[in-house]
Symmetry: C2
Subunit: 333 residues, 2 copies
Amino acid sequence: MDNIEQGLKPHDRLAARLADDMDAVNTLIRTKMASEHAPRIPEVTAHLVGAGGKRLRPMLTLASAHLCGYTGAYHIHLAATVEFIHTATLLHDDVVDESAQRRGRPTANLLWDNTSSVLVGDYLFARSFQLMTECGSMEVMRILSNAAATIAEGEVLQLTAAQDLATDEAVYLQVVRGKTAALFSAAMEVGGVIADADAATVKALYDYGDALGVAFQIVDDLLDYQGQSEATGKNIGDDFRERKLTLPVIKAVTKATPDERAFWVRTIEKGKQDAGDLEHALALLNKHGTLAETRVDAIAWADRAKASLAPLADHDIKDMLVDLADFVVDRIS
Amino acid sequence: MDNIEQGLKPHDRLAARLADDMDAVNTLIRTKMASEHAPRIPEVTAHLVGAGGKRLRPMLTLASAHLCGYTGAYHIHLAATVEFIHTATLLHDDVVDESAQRRGRPTANLLWDNTSSVLVGDYLFARSFQLMTECGSMEVMRILSNAAATIAEGEVLQLTAAQDLATDEAVYLQVVRGKTAALFSAAMEVGGVIADADAATVKALYDYGDALGVAFQIVDDLLDYQGQSEATGKNIGDDFRERKLTLPVIKAVTKATPDERAFWVRTIEKGKQDAGDLEHALALLNKHGTLAETRVDAIAWADRAKASLAPLADHDIKDMLVDLADFVVDRIS
């Protein structure tokens, strides 16, 4: 418990606890993203790897495997697999969102082109399946291919749902499960499966990842309206400008007066935005208290994540995962 | 041999021989491309499925399994898997090429948008891995994930190689193996693997698919300069206009005078094309006889495909596959 005493954040404590494994994951990632024949591939991916990121998802797989007493070496492969799937979706998201910044640096599709983002994303996706094949577990293949399908389905659903004022909290949750929670839960689940954990434990790990992912995404969507640009690397109101219906707005739409509803129809559904519209949107969210309500929801999901782990035996990594759930919502406290 | 007597083309004879299986494949494709949550997915994919296509790749898997005496049901899954991978790459290719037509109909990215093409492609790709997981064969997973990585690598290589006059026939072959032959060979290989065929047979099936795929792509590239638009559904000179260095041009570049080289640098490397350039390019290909040379290469690859099958025992499907190799190059006879 040295790290706690040193006052490290939960994410950093997990990172310190898993440092050797994470070095192995990073080495494997660098090896597997190389391409003898297509030098553009390591150029694009090195750009992403160089940008760092928190490696949260692979860390979940490592943590889950250790928590279940795994002593083999395949958790490294699975952690790299999870990061490859994540990186592939980032590359494709950048094309979809026409993003100019990712992790505080220009996105690959601006530095190269959309084409490279699409094809290198495909390459990483294929590589992730090669990597998981090496583990030889059909159950792992099933979990991760299901997750990949859920991710893609969530992204497609978002295309139509995000600009449709009929989108309710249930549809929002489906999108969030797809775009974020599916990989969190799969990352946790495969760590347990590879360690031959019993079904109840694997279910608990899955539930933790699912709830953590939902909390994580709700926090992200909330910060888009109330965060600081320096802290998030994003600009306030990006989702509004990109006409993405997220939880604070969905809640505000259900409480809207006819005039307010007309405002949301114009700005989100029709995408006709003028100067001052973001400020007006923020005023409506504050008027109806939906930012505060969204915050309560995020904390409830974090609590659900912690509760999922309760049945598991004591373990220093279990404590860190519990703290991690708190930390995810700390950003909005 | 009724079908031969009826004078059907090899492709149609194979299709007739495998009709029941292919119906099952089509049913499975329709079932698996459905999405409860994201109606955009079946919209986009139904458009592609409705467009038909020859279903050549899944037919190879079915043929290969039958040739090896397979009596199970998983060849249906694998054939659908192969078609899903193919359709996913078509969707992404359309974004990459900014194509306006595919199979004689507007491409999905014109009817919807690039975003849908990228994300629905991802969905089909993930679905293909789910489908192959159902077969429970780790060797099949390995073959198809390797093929997927080779396809993506070939596509990325093409990005840089296609407009670089230094691209030689070896690099061209690498691109062709990636973009076309990798899926042909994998489609054949998994049919043998699922049937528990011996290693020599599986190798023969792989070699047939590889050589057939190379022949197929060389013919495609040749037809781009000498085909009829009605027969191919493409316009003469599309590759030239899109600055794609294919075999006839690669051969002409090696024989180019300094003036001719300057022409290729301007039109392909720099992409500065004027009226009359396509006609001049065609004149250079004819002057150096590279269309004829390319045709000879294609026929040699078709012969290699046929020779690969020679060691296998007699079988009506073996005869059809031999005829199919001839048929692929018949288009340029």
